[in-house]
Symmetry: C2
Subunit: 213 residues, 2 copies
């Protein structure tokens, strides 16, 4: 052989959703660290930076009127209001990544996933991460901080609501242990990169081959 | 943690198609050897056994009238006539495997893949294997035996015809080197096993979890 052709492909948008406390943030970070061909989506937000947050890396921090303008110009492919602050995903860098064959990871909830799917269709791959049990979820939500019971209760309700949307996702990973979950997610990404409809260089590749047969 | 729930899933039907000379048979054999959860589909055929072939392992060897009866009773989910012999895939063992959560591998051409997809719908995962170049394909078709040029020419034409059907498949692997192709195919299988619509035990699993939240 010797010849290893590279087939041009479209990038994909990998959405991870889960109730908080299911381990999603750790999984997302590990994937980004392990794979140079996928990077985290950088949102715009009207929230003020927290200590340690870097503008352009963690978020692009913008004013409310700039956010509104982006929304009006259809430049946000999903957005949400959380505790009075606006968060959104700009369209231009995402579309540029897809064209370059670079993948983008989204850590968003079911509402963001729905908006993204409507706008970006088959470029979106949706993965839902479930905790292995209600007990493990409660433990993780409690151990997060020394919070009063009613705060934990509210978090559990929010988790139950998020979980109810698992049927809207393409893949489901039950996060019983991190290495197995990483293997599953890595396989999903590797497989989706081999999907015929993303391999937009194949038409030319096959045509060239056919011309020599 | 500690609890590693097993979610019941449907088995899937993995179809490998390629022009002969692209390395498909080696790939199929390696996959079967490496993964106990997938096994080769055993066809029925009216052809006589060749030396070394075992009835029930390589094929189920049957008479023409038995074949015809199976076809009439809609017991064949795909069939074809090749050099005057009939080959077909019985429905019952395939459906039983799907229900058990066992995967089945099919080494069939585009016509078989089409029939199987029509009958078995979303249980089918179609992978097309391409040679890395026309040259490598011709080399493999030639090295196979000391055949006259017109025999090689006919094989090349058949290969070109098979290749023209790549757009009907879900995934495409360019078989430049075997380990990379195996990685790709293994990822496809692992990912497809995590597809939400195959995880038919999830509904009960989530309902049970929700009841404790």
């Amino acid at each position: 052989m010797g010849d290893t052709p590279t087939i041009k492909r479209r990038g994909l948008l990998l959405v991870l959703s889960s109730p908080s406390g299911a381990g999603k943030t750790t999984i997302a970070r590990r994937l980004i660290d392990a794979d140079p061909d996928i990077s985290m989506s950088v949102s715009v937000t009207t929230r003020k930076p927290r200590p340690g947050e870097v503008d352009g890396r963690d978020y692009n921090f913008i004013e409310a009127d700039a956010f509104k303008r982006m929304a009006d110009e259809n430049e946000l492919i999903e957005w949400a209001q959380v505790f009075g602050n606006l968060y959104g995903t700009p369209r231009t860098p995402v579309e540029a990544a897809i064209e370059r064959g670079q993948d983008v990871l989204f850590d968003i909830d079911w509402q963001g996933a729905q908006q993204l799917s409507e706008k970006m269709k088959h470029d979106v791959v949706r993965v839902f991460i479930l905790p292995p049990s209600a007990d493990s979820l409660e433990q993780r939500l409690r151990s997060r901080a020394q919070d009063p019971d009613d705060v934990v209760r509210r978090r559990m309700d929010a988790a139950a609501d998020e979980i109810s949307h698992w049927p809207e996702y393409d893949y489901v990973i039950v996060n019983s242990d991190l290495p197995t979950s990483m293997e599953g997610l890595t396989a999903i990404l590797a497989a989706e990169r081999l999907r015929r409809d993303r391999l937009n260089g194949l038409t030319a590749f096959v045509r060239e081959m056919q011309s020599h047969l």
